[in-house]
Every structure is written in structure tokens, then in C-alpha cells.
Amino acid sequence: MSTETLVGFEEAMEKYDPVLGFEVHVELNTKTKMFSSAPNVFGDEPNTNVNEVCLGLPGVLPVVNRKAVESSILIGLALNCKIAEHCTFARKQYFYPDTPKNFQTSQYEDPICYDGWLDIELEDGTVFRVEIERAHMEEDAGKLTHMGGATGRIQGADYSLVDYNRSGVPLVEIVTKPIEGAGSRAPELAKAYVAAVREIVKNLGVSDARMERGNVRCDANVSLRPHGAEKFGTRTETKNVNSLRAVENAVKFEIQRHAAVLDSGVEITQETRHWHEDTKSTTSGRPKSDADDYRYFPEPDLVPIVTTAEWVEELRSRLPEPPAERRKRLQADWGYTDLEFRDVVNAGLMDEIEETVTAGATAAAARKWWMGEIARRAKLADVDPAALGVSPAVVVEIEKLIASGAINDKLARKVLDGVLEGEGTPAEVVAKRGLAVVSDDGALQKAIDEALAAQPDVAEKIRGGKVQAVGAIVGGVMKVTRGQADAARVRELILATLGVEG
């Protein structure tokens, strides 16, 4: 469906300098909605998490959710924003069937958080500071499903169905100042910025931060100007960019499209565009007749929020360590290489490894298990390693069993199997499956004597000083004991039997 002409990205970058801007909407994970006490729950049957307030029935009035205000302030603090001492709500007016009152209760002139910044680290370690203009509170709209069209799209639909479960879910909209100077790294920066915001709100615990559920949604503004120009070009706002990869792709696509339009001597139309994941392209959005005039005015049904220094400081004291700082600290503590650490982060196992280390394992052992056996089994089961069912305590217990000599590495994998099959704790699995290392010297001596008798030539070599040949005898003993012997002990006993110094 895309008939847009594009210019190659490198070519576009030779001629133009991109300016970006982002509006990221974060759905808060409060128990109830922004202005009504109806539950804020994802995925239930349509129109079952609503009451008269979030349906906008005649006569209803809104009341602000204190938790949502506090979550908004926490987000602002994590984004290094100032917190308004006094702020109000406003009505943003436009007609759309997913908006029950035909206005959205939002903030306009005085957002609760303003003037912040966030340092974004790109893959190669370059740090890019993104300035935050504001973060304000508002409410989400309901969900439209377009029926009768070929693809479930709004185009060509015969009718639409509306579910207001999401209507009134608290949102924080984070708006950046124009981002200049990203150059050819603009798409990468876009992705990294949204990833950073997502990580922050997840780390704060104020949002489930699942992009596939729309908990974090990005509108990306892109404009181009010729290199050296001061004045910004005309921007487009691409909506519906709902994965990190899509953010990167959409920004790249718009840069390439803008460049082609500008190259042909035509001006960019200031408009809303929609990102389509299937075609990896944007199309012009619905021109809203009232988009140019939202007729904002102070919400008369709500009173101002006043923040005291005590309140803000109390909230600041609840802030967890910022994700970027935490990563630096953990890598240093654990002694991982950059590559090892990046693999851990990409596998999403930082939290699990941290818990495992805290529970008593060494950093190396924690990484070995999580990135090795557990990740391998998770991949086979097609689940996240964290969701496989292995707890940090299990890893720690297995490690302890190994260290005490009760089991060896090979047995440990069998112990893990047992745990995953629900046979109990590692110690219980060892007992039930009879996996303990054979450490009865009498039993071992018998096996050693048999092995030596079976391979007299090897025994002779060892006696003659070729100690390295002992491996063949050890292998024989291990085979007979089905791996349940402590190989080091076996080696000691063999050498002692033959009267050789180890």
C-alpha cells in the first residue's frame, strides 16, 4: 500500500539534519482509573471494567486518583524534572467515539512535571542528553475495533465496536524538547530513548511497561532541515509506534520519506501519520476536523493539585536506583566483561542473576547457570528464562551441592531436570533419584581394582611415571559408577593404589 518514494538513508543524511521529538504515553498500573474507581485491568471482557464515570454518562463527576498523581511525580523525578507546586487539569475537546465525554481530561498550561532530562547511552557507549519539556497526567481512551474491513483497519470498515475498559486508565504523557544533533544516529537514539523510558517506568514499578499491550506508546515527531540551517523543517507526527524496533524503523522511514519529498521541491505537510508494522511504512492519518482547535479550558469539575516540598521529598525517597546506574554498579560488582554483561542484559536476566548472587552464589556461577543450562532449556520450551520455573534459590542450592562434593556438574543438570519436573528441592531430587556422588572408598576401590585389572598396560604406564594416563582409568571407573563418583577422589585413589605421587 505504500507508494511513497524514499531516498536512501545515507543519502538523506548527506543532505539533511534530522530533528526529533517524542511523546511517550505511559499507562500507569494503578488499581483504579485516573478519575473513577473502576478497575484498571487489561484483557477482561469488553465493558466490564467500567462504571458511569468512565462511560461518561450524564451527571457524573471525576475524582483524582492519589496514587496516579504520586506515580506521575515519581516519573517526573526519575526524569530529573521539576515538580509543579500548583497544577490544574484541563479539558482537551474533540469528538471521537473512543472518548466518552468527547473531551479528554488532561493538563495543558501547567503540567505536574516539567524541565527534565535523560541521558541516553547508545550501543557504542555514546551518551546523548534528551531534554524533557514536560510530563503531564491524563486519561486513556477506549478501544475501537473496526469491523467488516479486510484487515481490521479503519479504512474500509463497515462499522466499529467500542470497548471502554481502557477508558480512563491513567496516562502520563512525556514530551521531549526538540532533539537536535543526533544526525545519522537518530533512529538508534529514538529506540534507545523509548527503551530508557520504558525501563525507568518499569523500574519505578508505576507501569507494567509492556509495549505489546500498549502500556508504553510512542508518537515520533520527525523533521529535516538542510545541514547548517537553524530553522526546523515542517514536522510529521507518527503514531501507533508500539515496539522498540518500530520506533527505530518509523523514524528511519520518515527521514527517508521527508528527504524524498524535499528533494522533489515539495513542502512537507504537517500531519499525523500512522505506522504500519506489516508494510514497515507510514501513511497519512485521518485529517481530524477539530484537530486544529482543541478549545482547552480549565476543568471545572476538578480542583488544583498542590505539591508540598515534604510530599515531593517523601516520594523522592522512594525512588529506586536509576537503571543505567544500576547496570554500571552490577557489572563492576560482578566483574563481567562488557560482552558478558550485554548478553545478560539482552537476555533480560539481570534481575535473576542479581537475586541469585544476593542469595549466595558467586557471580560466575550465577551467570553460568542462567546464561547456560537455564537459558538453553527455556529456549527449548519457548519461554523466557525467568519464566521457566527455576528460582534463584534453586541455583544457589545446586551450587552448594556441587561445592560440597555431593554432586558433580553432570549430576547437577539431572537435578535441574528433577526440579523442573516438580520433584521438589534439589536436595530432594538428589535423594529421590539417588544422584549422590559415590564417595564410599570401598565401593570405589573395587571399581578401581577392576579397571586396573582390565587395562594392565595403562596401569604399567602410570607406574612408570606417565601420570597423565590416569585419565583412562578414571574414565573407566566413572563409566562403571554411571557418573556418580567424585572424579577427583577416584584419581587420588588410583594413584595411591599404584603407589605413585600425584
Binding site: N51, E52, L55, G56, L57, P58, G59, V60, L61, P62, V63, V64, R91, Q93, F95, P97, P100, K101, N102, F103, S160, V162, Y164, S289, D292, D293, R295, Y296, F297, P300, D301, L302, V303
Partner: protein, 527 residues
Amino acid sequence: MTVHELIRSSAADMAAKLAAGDITSVELVQAHLDRIAAVDGGERGVNAFLHVNAEEALAVAADVDARRAAGEELHELAGVPIAVKDLIVTKGQPTTAGSKILEGWMSPYDATVVKKLRAARMPILGKTNLDEFAMGSSTEHSAYGPTRNPWDLDRIPGGSGGGSAAAVAAFEAPLALGTDTGGSIRQPGAVTGTVGVKPTYGAVSRYGAIAMASSLDQIGPVSRTVLDSALLQEVIGGHDPQDSTSLTDPSTGLADAARLGNVAGMKIGIIKELHGEGYQAGVENRFNESLELLRGAGAEIVEVSCPNFGYALGAYYLIMPSEASSNLAKFDGVRFGMRALPAEGPLTIERVMAATRAAGFGDEVKRRIILGTYALSAGYYDAYYGSAQKVRTLIQRDFAAAFEQVDVLISPTAPTTAFKLGEKLNDPLAMYLNDVATIPANMAGVPGLTLPGGLADEDGLPVGIQLLAPAREDARLYRVGAVLESLLEAQWGGPILDRAPSLAETPAVEPVETQGTAATAAAKEAN
């Protein structure tokens, strides 16, 4: 005591008779249903009711009687029936706001004030007529036909709460709820010879009152006596966590204030800007008479000036339509109410919304929505809405200065007595002027009360006297109002409504022009 006498007494007297066991609530409710059946329907009926809630009202009454018989302690007004303005949502009865767009709509929830009425076990007689979405001063803008003034059936009962005022004046209900955005309780009270109070903004929860202008709207009592309004405000007032603008003050001491019975030493201020030019001679005469009575009772009467009140009407007609244009956006044919399809062309949601609102809203509602959209639109906001909010500050300052000098303020409630139906219908501006004396209280959030001040010499129609008090001092209105009422009634030899012509009691043979036929059903029950 005959049924005829019973329904003419005050709510307080009815409550006393119920408590004493002289009458039952079922008898009382039935007497009112009979009266509604007799005078409300038909071509020349009062048409105060849009819906009559006979079955539920009688059931509540029977329940009260049973509880009383069992010795249960009941609320003072338990068993005393009440009518509810049809702008206030009720479970089990339709709520129309006087508009076609809500024809037949049943609310799935009760307004907070309705919950309070139910908690006090007051039987709800039905829903009363109003100008569509409370926009008007005559009830002629109702989509279900105008209400008639019981004093003269060819005249308006005021508006927007003409239905509640007329119902009380015509003895169809002893009490009613109204809403007052610019005078919709007080102006109908004035022209029907009844009492009505707009409480301090936030004293009564707005939850469940269909909003016209959120920062001006207030629910309040409508009654025949000052004490009755005080008793009713105590029932409906108080803090509501579902209304963010609700005050936390308790709703007490109002009836006590009404029973106090003296004004000696109080300072009462005449507002220079709210009488004289533009006020009917008969209105002025009755107003001056009330001043004399209060002076005679020991009050000190002084004149104060509120110079910015001259801007109040203009500022009101910017703020009110702005908020109304936003509040009424939800009526779009998607979630509730009627849906109309465009006569031709493609069937898109935008066009269906526009067709629905075109067919569902009357002219006055459309006028105010367009005016409000204009006042809020880009490029005009500062000059219109922004300026009007500043005028609001000036009006508040005028009140503050006045209340530094006096305890309460006094003025005529409306500049004229009831005008003829149709007289001002095609002149919106002339209609708006009816509210010139009532609007300042809404702009500043202060409480206001109207009580009958007698009949104008030139037309024999009721004149209203308005009292205004500082915010949260509603009790002062009841104290002064009750004293003035008793002085006037002593002079008249009884309540003003004794002088109203008696209405022809004809069984309603034609269905009342409403969405339901409950009034007819009630008439049948009565026969």
C-alpha cells in the same frame, strides 16, 4: 382533616402529623398523586411533571408506615413526598433533562441527592419539567411542552426549574429539588410565590445532576416555607467524595436558624445595582415593604454598592455556554440516548453524531453550544472566557467588600413578575435579563434564597425577595428569610398561596405530553 387541606400544609406540618400518627405516608402520597392527576395533565394542565412515579412512591410510603408502626426511629422527613427536577438522575425512572436527546433514557445510577432522599425514606413522586438541559428562564424550552404558572395558566412558571416550582405552588408536592446555575431555583420561586434556595457552591453534591455549567451549577431545595427548605437542605447537603468540588462542612443548623425568629441587630444591605431602573414598579413596592418590615423587626438596613455586578450577566453568558458546550459534548448517540441518521450522504460516525445533535437538541441549547464553542475557540479564549473569569474575581471582591459591611444582602429576585407564555421566546436577550439579579450569586458561589414578598399591584402576581449571604453562611439566609416570611404572612393573614386562584380539578382524560403515561395511570388510580 381533608385531603385538600392536608396537601396545602407545610412539609414540616406533614412530618409532624406523620410522626403523631394522624396520617399515614400512603395517604399523604396518594393525596399528592390524586392532585397531580387532577391538575397536571390535559391541555390546560400545569404540566409540572414529566414522569409520575406512583408505584415506587406508594411502596416507599407503605414501607415508612410499616417501619413507623414497628416503632423504628425514622428521619424527620420520612414519608413526606418530594418531586425531583428531571435534570437529576434517578434509577427506576427516566431522566430526560427536558431534551429529546435523552428521551426514555434510564440512568443506571442514582444522583447523590437522590440516594440521600432514599436514605431519609422520602417517597419520590416523579420528575419535574424544565427548560432543556436547564437552559432557560421560562420552561418553554422543554422538549415536552411548557409548564404553566398555577397563578395564571397563560404565564410562565419561570425557569429552568419551572416544573419544581409550579408543582410546589400547585400543591402537587410539598417539596422539590431544583438546580440553580444562574437563578433556575430562585427565579421560578419568585414568579410562583414559593421558596427556593441556591446553597453555597459545594454545599450540596452535584454528582448525578446533569451538568450545564459545572462551576455555577448547584442543587437546592424548593418548598412553600423557609423552614421546609432548611429541612430539605439538611437532608441533601454535606460532603460527597464523588464530587471534587464538594465542601466538607456538615449540613446542619439550618432548620435551627429558621426557627430562631429574630433579626434584631443584623445588618442587611440593599444592593444599589439590583433594584430601581429595569425593575417593575410592583416589584419595587413589595421589595420596599419587606425592607420596612425587617427594619421594624430591629434589623439595620444600609445600602451597599457592587459596581461590577453590571458585568455579571455578560460574563455569565460567556462562562455558562463555554462550560455547557463542553459538558454537552457527550450527547452524541454512541453510549446512551437517541441516535439520528443523516438524511442523505455517507453514514459515518461524525455525520451521525452531527445529525443526532441536530435532531436531539432544541434551539436554545444549540445557541449556547455554538456561543460557548466560539468563546473557547482559538483566538477568542482570552477576550471571552479569560476575561469572564476575571470578571468573576471582581464580582467576588464586590461581595467580599459588601459582606464586610453587612450580614446579608437583599434584592428583588427577578425584575418582573411572570410574563406571558411565548412573550420572550423569540428574544433570547430579553429572556436572559430575567436572571440579572440571581446570576451574581452563582458567579461568586455564595448562597441565595428567594421567598414570596407579596403580589405586584399592577398584575396581582407574586414578587420574589432575594437574600444573599457569604459563602458557607447559608444559615443566615434561613434565619432572616423565616423572620421576613412570618412578618409578611402576619400581614397577609396566611400564606401567599392562599391567594392563588384555585385550579380546576379535572381528571386528566388526555395523556400528558410526556414520554410516559404515568400521569394518566395515576389519574386512573385516583378515580
